[in-house]
Symmetry: C3
Subunit: 465 residues, 3 copies
């Protein structure tokens, strides 16, 4: 199941200073916007990742596409439907109501090629605020906002994952629409993509340089033959005239989806159902019915909880097995007013922090004891903390909520203070001599904080920058 | 068993256009030729692979050597013997007839060092046209053409495999002969190798610059001591005067090999035999008796079969377990006249196509909808289709046979059309809105092609280039 | 448990010639010295490793630190204590005696924050000459020399291991002291580190440029809050004034440690003890109680033994399971006077040789038959033999002891001569024709050396260089 292909890009991690960053490129569509973080800075290069934020209006549909990298996607706000297409999995969702109404139509029109019966398609998943979605590379995805408010998602794309055998460039492959139509909101990102396409096409096709979907690159008559349809219909597949962008408005979207339920894992019957009638393939056992979603928003999900400090929920391959395949994990943190997350280092992963709400101060220290980040962070910013670098977070007066994406499916941290800390795990003699302090002082370092990793705030502010 | 060491080369996949390529370098030997594809072009660099084609005359022996990369080797034509040397495996092939005749000789000459008895050596495998051989890195190999016609093999060498901890340069290490003797057929490849050796040796040994086998680099007297033989015999090991090249003629080659049988897996008794008396080591359980060969040429082997379109046979770690170790797989396709292989993308692998017979048109499309290949291909050409790029193949009037090597032991494809396609797996509502088409048109896209992945040809030609 | 993240550095292996190298940088501390091999030469770059040698005086403590790369550490001389801190593992070592004496003190001083009872800390391991220690990346380590003689350790750090997601730069992260104080023994290494820090800090902090420990980079008041201690005590944590370096003298070091026992694996009761009361986490089953140590020095440990030639002891993930996680292994060789280690190549690993005692001649040959090393080696030198390159070792008059670190947890070698050799495993017909020799000569190559891989020396010297 796992892919162990070596990566192939050179990265450097000579981090001089980190920045908490907003997205750099913005791309507007008919029913939403897509924002990209600039990967051409040293911490994104070091971590080998990309990040995207989508805002999808109610009734907005993010067109079917796949990526060259696996992603973890966090639902910051709103709710919606996720469609995935995994080859070899069966179309297990059937719509009997429509079947009846459609059968009439069909028999009237006599299109014998049509399957009698309603629509059939692969599993569709409902998601909502606080969910993490784990999405493999190469799998076709679409998202629909069937809620009342804007749907906001932020995704980490692990371009240096072994699942990606291309270079570190992050790539969308769209199956529909015209993802970057000319004349639509001239963003820097759009220009970059268009520039790349122009350069790649060179002189021979200078006159036609908008980027299109996958079908656009194939011959129209060949596609008509392939689909056994009229060539005119192929023009719709190719979508050259489509000006709606990546996110389109769909006012009546009648897709079958199960009632929203609290936790998919409580529904064992559905798990089995997915297997019925599927094409056998190597991934069928693991993928077709695999859980892709877990909610980290609910307070009761907390793995670490300090009523005076806050809570931490972790998601790794133990509680969401597909993460073993993606080699990614996540941590959701809620720090109350002035609370402190104990300083620690990530032992085996980079950590990509996205601030969901509130603000706070974060300090990051590198291997020579140098401070590489010491600043306020606020909602909507992203901060990459490289592996092994030490980090401390302190919430501001409004508290601090964050999601951290980690580049290891079993990311481990090693705290420097608190009940689980390295200081506490070492003999007093080591502390006394290392720090030239008395036994009593060594004991105060080991035992004055009995809290695990989330500490209640005591003083407010006053730290030098 | 698996090696998960990171690769170490930087590759770029800014593919502007692909080419169907013939080998670039040719090297003639006494009893055959060796051809190499040039790795210094963008698609070979992106995929991190090398490719070699050998033509071995009847009675030709490709000298013992090992490579720094695992390979999949396809027998395009002919048949022969494969010898492998896996350290720690026992010499389980014994020749009793020769034993008797030799015993006489020996006792006459009184060479007490000689083992009484016949020759003993490790397992030798018979192979024939249509076989795929899966060959690990670092394992000594020799090939002998014991058939009546030319033996033609084409091999993919995965230099970016984690099994190779050297750089992406593909390297042969010969145990015998003088693989690139001076004056023999001055090919570009030969010049390249010689140039590298001259550069590496610098000024100190300017006068002696042909490349030799491994023994050539050791001190002659030390080797005499190591083998406990006369130094004159070591000169033969070193082979400096040998002008025969890599493939030599051996008119009487009396090597013990079992009768050719259809499938090795039908012979459980041999499997067990391999274990007897072997030196215990970590690989003994898995390697000494592991199946390295599977025939993909027989029509009955097909995994996908459409009597009007053709057939596909796939080989992965489920049916040939050693591929789990090599992280490679293969697919053999036979498309009948004008048949179409449904457009698809490789989800988790690069695909390296070699055309075995016939001709056809192939179109490849990249992430911005750009056409990177749209051309006729013919027998003997190689085309690399990068991961995630979409590809469609259409056989010409003579049909199209190919072998595809894939850089993942469980390579998966996602078709864009046909019964297993992404289009069919999506709800009608998604298609209708994405492509701005009617429900009826959506149904025609989903259901007008009931074939799985190999489609019968309908029209002949007429596609624009 | 395994981390399969792709590496990210480009290395080249265009090896023209290898060198047997001494350490390049030396750094003196209060109670010992630290030496680094220069990584900026082609063989270290090709192998993607770093190497460090520590000499710790009796009563010397190497301060707590962690690395960005897993390491294999060989105890060349002396004995000592190893402390590790693995987050989530319990403090299972308790000191009852001190508990009583301390309780008096405490009650007198009335520090209510103090835990009543003695010191508690994580497991401490005794080690001695001949031990290999397998140490994961990111785990806090300290070493104490509790013996009578100097403790000498040599370590291979695998910076290209998938466990390291940073670049190939090897990094120490110290939790205490001031690892490179200004004014202390101006070595080149120190200058390099200081130069890097100065460059990273740029203009803003020009005035304060010594390198410090991790705490030095955090705000003093924030740390006081984090530890709930007086800010003055934080100054000791930060250690800015500390001039003792990395290895400090501790005259009375009263750390609880079990009696030294021959083999940890003979003590199953302790293994279980480690689990009691530990924090549950994903690694708890594997790491908290995992064996990190094995002695390769004892003659009885030999895996290969030739009374006239010497012995070889191998350590891999079969006999030390943590090596499966580290993807490293080791081999300890003792060659007697003039004995020869059969020529062989490493099939799936680089081999990093460190000469422990004696001297000898080593020859290394590359893929074009070119000699890349042919020289005497002696105690204290390191030689990197790249994967697939062939190597032969011949001990001098005093014999030759070495430790070889290998970059694969199940490193395999393929000998060119002797009872396990490729020559012996091939049919006589192949040898006769490849080397143009008689059947009798082929038999002498196959059978004249009946020894496995360590050959008794016959002649003394006389090999050309």
């Amino acid at each position: 199941q796992q892919q162990h292909r070596r990566g192939r890009a050179r990265t450097e991690c000579r981090i001089q200073s980190l920045s908490a960053r907003e997205p750099t490129y913005k791309f507007d569509s008919e029913a939403g916007t897509t924002e990209f973080w600039d990967r051409n800075n040293e911490e994104f290069e070091c971590a080998g990742v990309a990040a995207v934020r989508n805002v999808i209006q109610p009734q907005g549909l993010l067109l079917p596409h796949y990526n060259n990298a696996p992603q973890l996607l966090y639902i910051v706000q709103g709710s919606g439907l996720l469609g995935t297409v995994i080859p070899g999995c069966a179309e297990t969702y059937e719509s009997p109501q429509r079947e009846r109404s459609m059968r009439g139509e069909e028999s009237r029109e006599g299109e014998s090629q049509f399957r009698t019966g309603g629509d059939q398609h692969q599993k569709v998943r409902q998601f909502r605020q606080g969910d993490v979605l784990a999405l493999p590379a190469g799998v076709t995805l679409w998202f629909y906002n069937n809620g009342q408010q804007r749907l906001v998602t932020v995704a980490l794309l692990d371009t240096s994952n072994p699942a990606n055998q291309l270079d570190l460039q992050f790539r969308h492959f769209f199956l529909a629409g015209n993802p970057n139509p000319r004349g639509q909101s001239g963003s820097r990102y759009e220009e970059e993509i268009r520039g790349r396409r122009e350069q790649e096409q060179g002189e021979q096709q200078q006159q036609r340089c908008q980027t299109g979907n996958l079908f656009d690159g194939f011959d129209q008559n060949l596609l008509a033959d392939v689909f056994n349809v009229d060539p005119e219909l192929v023009r719709n597949l190719q979508g050259r005239e489509d000006q709606r962008g990546r996110i389109i408005r769909v006012e009546r979207f009648d897709v079958l989806s199960p009632e929203f339920e609290e936790r998919e894992e409580q529904r064992p019957s559905r798990e089995r159902e997915g297997r019925r009638g599927s094409q056998p393939n190597g991934l069928e056992e693991t993928i077709c019915t695999m859980r892709l979603r877990e909610n980290l928003g609910r307070p009761s999900r907390a793995d670490v909880y300090n009523p005076r400090g806050g809570r931490i929920s972790t998601l790794n391959s133990h509680n969401l097995p597909i993460l073993n395949w993606l080699q990614l994990s996540a941590e959701r943190g809620v720090l109350y007013q002035n609370a402190i997350m104990a300083p620690y280092w990530n032992m085996n992963a980079h950590s990509i922090l996205y601030i969901l709400r509130g603000s706070g101060r974060i300090q990051v220290v590198g291997d020579t004891g140098n401070s590489v980040f010491n600043d306020e962070v606020r909602e909507g910013q992203m901060l990459i903390v490289p592996q092994n670098f030490a980090v401390v977070k302190r919430a501001g007066n409004q508290g601090l909520d964050y999601i951290a994406f980690k580049t290891n499916d079993q990311a481990m941290t090693s705290p420097l203070a608190g009940r689980l800390s390295a200081i506490r795990a070492m003999p007093e003699e080591v502390l006394m001599n290392s720090y030239q302090i008395s036994r009593q002082e060594a004991r105060s370092l080991k035992y004055n904080r009995e809290e695990a990793t989330v500490f209640a705030g005591r003083r407010s502010g006053g730290y030098s920058t």
